[in-house]
């Protein structure tokens, strides 16, 4: 599904990603862990097409297509979903209008007719329940006045609405209490199928108690310094990152 080869990216002339290699296949859950400033969020942003990052080297292919050639909206319509670390507040744009526009633009991209209003409302209701999102929030402006937990649940709600093939969840767990974390993780687990894949970016091992990854990668200083199965996460929990850093520095 996704193949990243020697990806290098920088922002304002400063190199953040220094040669990332990663392959994600359908049905897999990958966890990317690492200390602050290691480049985790940059990787997520580059994959979603954020323009402030310049890709200086490397290739990313997504279902055989050159991902880096696509605009953010094309990537989204092709099934890439970024769960934002800090969801943006957009005053004056209602959640309903936002989601309806997004769903219909993605349908248009696939050559489908716009969804009917009744089907859309039904879909909204269904997906809201999945993340236990308060019905009233849907009538408010996007993320405006939402609590931290509501914003994160709103990200998973949007993911449920758009049914992406590849979800990249950028620290969706940070700032959540354990109840909210359960709801978010539960949402992600329910949306998992054999056809889609998820990359969870986190620096808390706690999330991985609820979302069981197939692979764990440790990112440090712009490079993946270690990959392994879910047991790697436990090792990190126990020993921290330093033993790996020292390893890689040698």
């Amino acid at each position: 599904m996704l193949l990243i080869k020697n990806l290098r990216a920088s922002v304002e002339g400063k190199e953040i990603l220094k040669g990332i290699n990663l392959e994600v296949k359908a049905g897999e859950v990958h966890a990317i862990m690492g200390p602050n400033g290691s480049g985790k969020s940059t990787l997520a942003s580059v994959l979603a097409g954020r323009e402030i990052f310049q890709v200086t080297e490397g290739k990313v292919s997504y279902f055989g297509k050159d991902l880096l050639e696509m605009s953010p909206e094309e990537r989204a319509s092709e099934g890439i979903f970024l769960g934002f670390q800090y969801p943006i507040e957009i005053p004056g744009v209602s959640m309903v209008n936002f989601m309806k526009t997004a769903v219909n633009e993605q349908r248009k991209h696939k050559g489908l007719d716009p969804i009917s209003s009744s089907d859309f409302l039904k879909l909204m209701r269904e997906k809201k329940e999945l993340v236990e999102l308060d019905a009233a929030l849907a009538n408010r402006s996007v993320n405006e006045g939402f609590s931290g937990g509501e914003k994160k649940r709103n990200e998973i709600f949007q993911m449920a609405m758009l049914e992406p093939k590849l979800s990249i969840l950028d620290e969706t767990d940070s700032g959540l209490d354990i109840d909210a974390l359960r709801i978010v993780a539960n949402g992600v687990n329910k949306l998992k199928t054999a056809e889609n894949a998820t990359i969870v970016i986190t620096h808390y091992q706690r999330l991985l108690d609820y979302i069981i990854p197939d692979y764990v990668h440790v990112l440090n200083n712009g490079k993946i310094i270690k990959s392994g199965g879910k047991e790697l996460a436990f090792e990190l929990e126990e020993k921290g990152y330093d033993w790996l850093k020292n390893d890689s520095d040698k």
Partner: protein, 455 residues
């Protein structure tokens, strides 16, 4: 030619036109009007047309605009057309009787005055000045300040016709009255209509004003409206400015509010080459509320300048000003809003905000919100912002599959909506939402059923 020379020449031109046409101007006008006319003329001779040295006109040089050979309409020009052929407004819930001004003159020459149920009167200002001298004399030239404002003096010196509305005590006019200012001619023209709205104690009315151009020549307008809102009366004023980009207009609204009165004034500027809107509000009694809102969506070489003066003369009044604008291409603009809270106006609440989005590096806006407070127990705030579309919000929308162009529209529309939702007539609100959407999409902003190709 230097600006100074232009200034003197423009002024001199109007002095000569006045002197050459003094008989036409004074003819048919009651004595009390002509006394005001003469006084205004003397004042105009001194003040002239404001130039950029005038702090209130710093960003709009009117002398340049008045340096032209436009024809003035000193008597009504007979242009016959079937009003229903060109204009059919299908906004629901609006009074079916359309009040039309053509080049500043009341169009329906057969029925210059119409009496509405309850004794309300609507019609030609000129005719009303003749038929109801006591009423008109009591309010005419009482609120519009021609001593300080040369453009008001100019309007008053040449006063002929316009709209007259009178709503007697405790009378409620349910449906909004629609007023169309139509500019149409084969040659370039300069119009100066004069409106007078009188709302007696406890009465209520709303008007919807549309400014349109119907033919391609350039037009210039200098209009004055005086609006008296009596004790505990309510008045709603919604205006749509939709003239073509070869037109220039200066408009002056003077609201005089008595105790416990309420006024909502909302101006939506969609098209027009140069638009200068002056709004003066005097809160002349306790317990008044005034909401003055504006939205301007400009592109190409358009210039928009909003000026508001909010005078809190008595305690316990509330005023809100909200002006929002989106400027594209190389459009320019200014906002100058002043709130004056006089010494005795305790417990005043006055809020003022001006927010702007510039879509290009060449678009330009100057904004100057001002508070002048002499009372000590008040709640006032003011603020102005000038920015671009929020890049983070753009990316968020695009990351959900919404194309850049649509994302931009969504954000601009959301920005504009604060002003639109303040429009009190729901049906009109829907229509304006639609027009704003079209405007932002770069389509012609006209109602589908209306044949007016106004822009």
């Amino acid at each position: 030619m230097s600006l100074e020379a232009v200034k003197i020449e423009s002024k001199q031109k109007f002095i000569e036109i006045y002197q050459d046409n003094i008989d036409t101007l004074k003819n048919d006008a009651p004595e009390y009007i002509n006394i005001a006319r003469q006084k205004a003329f003397e004042l105009f001779k001194n003040i002239g047309i404001p130039d950029k040295k005038n702090e209130n006109y710093k960003y709009t040089d009117l002398n340049k605009e008045f340096d032209n050979g436009y024809k003035m309409y000193l008597s009504p020009k007979n242009i016959k057309f079937q009003i229903n052929d060109i204009f059919r407004c299908d906004v629901p819930e609006i009074n079916t009787k359309v009040i039309l001004l053509l080049n500043g003159w009341y169009y329906d020459r057969e029925n210059l005055i119409t009496e509405l149920p309850g004794g309300a009167i609507i019609g030609s200002f000129q005719k009303a000045a003749e038929l109801y001298p006591d009423l008109v004399k009591k309010h005419f030239a009482q609120y519009a300040d021609m001593e300080k404002e040369g453009m008001v003096a100019l309007n008053t010196a040449f006063v002929k016709d316009g709209i007259f509305l009178y709503v007697p005590k405790d009378v409620l006019i349910e449906k909004p009255i629609q007023i169309i200012n139509l500019l149409m001619d084969e040659e370039e023209g300069f119009t100066q209509h004069r409106n007078l709205f009188i709302l007696e104690e406890g009465s209520q009315a709303s008007v919807v004003v549309c400014d349109h151009t119907l033919s391609t020549p350039n037009f210039l307008t200098n209009s004055v409206s005086e609006i008296f809102v009596g004790q505990n009366a309510g008045f709603d004023y919604s205006r749509m400015q939709n003239e073509h980009n070869g037109s220039k207009q200066v408009s002056h609204l003077y609201f005089h509010q008595e105790r416990d009165s309420r006024v909502n004034a909302n101006t939506i500027t969609l098209h027009g080459g140069l638009v200068r809107n002056n709004v003066h509000v005097l809160l002349n009694g306790e317990g008044c509320e005034n909401n003055t809102y504006g939205l301007y969506l400009t592109d190409k070489g358009q210039h928009i300048d909003n000026y508001v003066f909010m005078d809190h003369a008595f305690p316990n009044c509330i005023s809100n000003q909200l002006f929002k604008g989106v400027l594209d291409d190389f459009a320019t603009g200014a906002f100058n809003g002043k709130v004056l809270v006089r010494k005795d106006a305790q417990k005043t609440k006055a809020f003022q905000a001006n927010n702007n989005i510039l879509l290009t590096d060449d678009a330009d806006i100057n904004t100057k919100p001002q508070l002048e407070i002499y009372a000590d127990d008040v709640k006032c705030s003011h603020g102005a912002t000038v920015g671009q579309l929020d890049e983070d919000a753009m990316f968020y929308l695009r990351a959900r599959g919404i194309p850049k162009k649509e994302a931009k529209l969504l954000l601009m529309y959301a920005f504009a909506n604060d002003v639109i939702k303040a429009i009190q007539v729901p049906a009109l609100q829907d229509r304006i939402q639609d027009l704003v959407d079209k405007r932002l999409r770069g389509e012609l902003s006209r109602c589908n059923s209306c044949q007016m190709h106004c822009c």
